[in-house]
Symmetry: C2
Subunit: 443 residues, 2 copies
Amino acid sequence: MRRFAADRARRAVAASIRAAARSAVPSAPAAPAPPSPAAAAAMASAMVRAMSTAAAGAAPVSLDNINPKVLKCEYAVRGEIVTHAQNLQQELQKNPESLPFDEILYCNIGNPQSLGQQPVTFFREVLSLCDHPALLDKSETHALYSSDAIERAWQILDKIPGRATGAYSHSQGIKGLRDEIAAGIAARDGFHASGDNIFLTDGASPAVHMMMQLLIRSEKDGILCPIPQYPLYSASIALHGGSLVPYFLDEETGWGLEVDELKKQLEESQSKGITVRALVVINPGNPTGQVLAEENQKKIVEFCKNEELVLLADEVYQENIYVEDKQFHSFKKIARSMGYTDDDLPLVSFQSVSKGYYGECGKRGGYMEVTGFSADVREQIYKVASVNLCSNVSGQILASLIMNPPKVNIVCAQSIINWNNDGNNLHVYFFHRLGMNPTNPSW
Amino acid sequence: MRRFAADRARRAVAASIRAAARSAVPSAPAAPAPPSPAAAAAMASAMVRAMSTAAAGAAPVSLDNINPKVLKCEYAVRGEIVTHAQNLQQELQKNPESLPFDEILYCNIGNPQSLGQQPVTFFREVLSLCDHPALLDKSETHALYSSDAIERAWQILDKIPGRATGAYSHSQGIKGLRDEIAAGIAARDGFHASGDNIFLTDGASPAVHMMMQLLIRSEKDGILCPIPQYPLYSASIALHGGSLVPYFLDEETGWGLEVDELKKQLEESQSKGITVRALVVINPGNPTGQVLAEENQKKIVEFCKNEELVLLADEVYQENIYVEDKQFHSFKKIARSMGYTDDDLPLVSFQSVSKGYYGECGKRGGYMEVTGFSADVREQIYKVASVNLCSNVSGQILASLIMNPPKVNIVCAQSIINWNNDGNNLHVYFFHRLGMNPTNPSW
């Protein structure tokens, strides 16, 4: 199935590249905007001044004198297929008949709501109420919002000092929301989690950057990354001046991650003088979709422990499992089940509100759970977080909601109807996840 | 007045430092959390495993092997006063009677809503509606939201592809919102502005980081920064491995910024082999509050032009002017009024939803207006923006609202009442800004 899809994609891309080669024309530069009346008034002095200062030398900023790490990042984040799609889109805009299709759907990044997925009503009701808490004092609100969303909004606002959703929060995020997320992690894994270990961030990307910034000292520091990978990793490693040490997933075994391959790449990079600092594992895989088996995860944990690597676990697709016999296990759960405690293994788990059944990409919510670091290193991570003050509070609230969605046994009928009315069958997924039968609600 | 306040603050801090020295006790380490039942089950194997792997060597991550730039940043973002305040707060929690006050108000960072300022109703109504667009189809919504907020929410949603506030946007931000911001800038300055030059960001801080990341190649690259400064600059320069080149504001002349001082510091740093890349000007000043005079700004623009520096204009306090005879002029307005065009001077203006009368710090909205860079360098800035996908959409919406707040001549009576009801006299400020008399509304 996967192989078939990959072949089909390859054929489609090859066909459109051929079509574009036949019809592409160079795009004309945009016409400059006409000057505003006020600007026109300054034109005369501009001309005089231009004569006195023009051609004083090279531009202050050029590709020759910007940070070379920014330049190096170039090839990592822009894929050939996306660039080609953008060219085709420009072509379509200029000449809608020129190609055998009239629309391009961008699936290079998971962005479900741009493709028509509707948001979950409950989440949006809560956000809407928290954005305008004055609504909670009005009786008319009950006609517009479900009672469980109103109740949850109250609970959330009570966790925020002064109920001020417009104030900077603690730099790790609002403590009460972090505690709620930790409780969700503990319920998922069966092992203790602490809100003190949660760092709420504007999506998972800034969290990944923070860890790269902490670990990478120079190009002699390497980060083991899967290939195929999500381009954030190559981009972030390039921007922070480190070396990406690739390990290759095995397509033949459903994009398997073999510890032998990790060892081989580690040793090869060490022989080149690279100090490998961390291993990135994306589970479930992105873009490969595989779900690691528990035994495989144990070997990976053991590998990190023995080689003294930080395990950076990208677990943002934990809700996106589409086969019956696979199950997501967080790396922290695996490590704890092996008996490793907070003292044994530096482990960071990344989660995001952008993926899963929620798909709330535009809200930029996410977190990392940071365990296994010494207090003084933790303090450094906190310091880096504090430089940016805090992540956006709506994203923080949403992160708490996805880790503590409404439970069927307490949810009121109105929310269930709303979930149904979202029109994208998310409720079916959700009830399956809870082990319920969505077509025969006996609860 | 300022001198008096500074003296008073110095005395208060000195007194509380003495008091703390008398009463401080070292804080006990927190007790470890008891193991969960599931964790207890793994304990036996933990002990066996611990014996086989413990003390295998130094911790994988320690202060000795993290990025030294992160370490170097340490002294830049943590002020002595804040650290002392946090110690006093811990002391107060342990022993409420120990100090001659019972509460600490943190004024080290502008965070008005944490100090009780209420948000502007109109802004929050629009955000609330955009978070849950389904409300706009319901008649009951008119009982809860002002009609102009409903109208504005429709206008905003019409600018968002698919009305999907939960989708990743363009990496610079939603084009229609950027155009609205550009129109606001043009109306403010009297000179053309383009939405293509706007980069919407999660507050102004990430925008500052992006520019530092672009410009700084090594510690041999310097950035001229005012002293006193906002610690974001020293922190960001340290994290990106550059050198802060200080220039000193003159307290005697109301924290004046003299071009002679800029020249002196520039030459001094050049003599040490530093290449100065940019000048940071914070206007109105932070934390100094001064508002630069137009003639002074012209000299600064001329200095940047002659010395081939990027002008990084922190203009986030543009609405915070508390004296009758001062007026904010953006550096772009000044440069354009001098006749300099987009070809003459690389200039970045930072703006934020966190400051001004709005004070919406927790929403993390902001933008930078980037002018005077070549197309290929602009492409690099866009690339760095695209690595983080996009800023949060609620913050983007709010940034468009602050640059296009309701106009009195079109605003309906309901909104005016709401502004009054916000209870913090913001409407007085706002009407003054519009040249209206708030106590005698004849409009």
